[in-house]
Amino acid sequence: MTAGRPGTSGAAAAPKGGPPGGRGRRLIPAYLATGGRERPRGTAGFDRLTLLVATDQQPPELDFGPEHRRLWTLLRPGALTVVECAAHLGLPVSATVFLAADLVGGGHLLARSPVPKAEEIDRTLIERLLVGLRALP
């Protein structure tokens, strides 16, 4: 992972691990910057199967680190789940969630959860699944 190299992208004068937020420029990758936070903002609704789609708004270099831009670039051609993004980028799922939440917050990604909630797993859904499985080539 190249992500574990804080301070190598033009942030030479910045104190390592400076407080997140506050100023406009992010000095270290978001998920490293979350170190002091119990629960990173905006990540509560994400899980492995959250579907991510890029918008046309490219994340500006001044506000986002290289890992954010890698994620956005990966998603430019189409939609993927969080766990697929993590695997393709070689990042932990938790780190991918932090990046995705930042990008959703900035309007650069859309996230949706096409996963049925527990109360939505009903007989109709499983019957559809069975019909589909039996029809597989």
């Binding site: 992972m1 393709h88 007989r123």
Partner: protein, 211 residues
């Protein structure tokens, strides 16, 4: 098993996926569902996932913290604050706009917190077993039951492994009468689809009837 974690994950190259290598999903209109494929090490979880998956099998490196490695039984693994384990997964689009994600989760008890995290929201679990070491699947079955997940047992018939009747296997695995047992060759697509059908049929029996 092609997913041995790199001993030095921090130095692994973060190669960009090549165009054409990534198989994207439609942005809307599909329902995504999660199934857990679990069982002892080397039982064929990754083989079954590879057989079924429409994408080349992927994996994530999952980090576990100290609390979950306290009772580590791996010989020679140095005590450390965190350890990583590779979790394989694959994807299977089923007619009817359903997309199944198959997660191969390690069955060892020391991975239970990770296991629980991945299993959250899953429809059910397929517990795999090997006739040469059936008892290795017991802790996994305990974990699945503790989690309250519906499960079916898939006995992977390895070449040269002793064959047994379903009845004998059920007895040795101490299965409840309603728990499905399927014998399969995890390299065979029809067999592997059959294990998912057995699991889905079982999930259906656990759901309340429509009124």
């Amino acid at each position: 098993m092609d997913s041995v974690p790199s001993p030095e994950p921090a130095t692994a190259p973060a190669a960009e996926p090549r165009p054409g290598q990534v198989r994207y999903l439609p942005a809307t209109g599909q329902t995504l569902m999660k199934l857990i494929i679990t069982g002892p090490f080397g039982v064929g979880k990754t083989t079954l996932i590879r057989t079924l998956s429409e994408i080349p099998t992927l994996h994530t490196e999952e980090v576990m913290t100290r609390s979950s490695v306290g009772h580590d039984d791996l010989k020679g693994l140095p005590e450390k604050a965190t350890t990583t384990v590779a979790v394989d997964f694959g994807r299977l689009t089923v007619p009817g706009d359903l997309v199944l994600y198959l997660f191969g989760t390690p069955g060892q008890e020391r991975f239970f917190p990770l296991w629980q995290d991945i299993a959250r929201g899953a429809l059910g679990a397929l517990v795999m077993a090997d006739t040469r070491r059936l008892a290795d699947s017991f802790p996994v079955m305990d974990m699945v039951e503790e989690e309250g997940l519906p499960y079916a047992v898939a006995v992977n018939r390895f070449p040269g492994a002793p064959a047994h009747s379903d009845d004998t296997l059920r007895k040795h695995l101490d299965l409840a009468p309603q728990t499905p047992l399927v014998q399969c060759d995890a390299r065979n697509r029809r067999d592997s689809i059959g294990t998912l059908i057995a699991l889905a049929e079982h999930v259906l029996t656990r759901l309340p009837e429509d009124d």
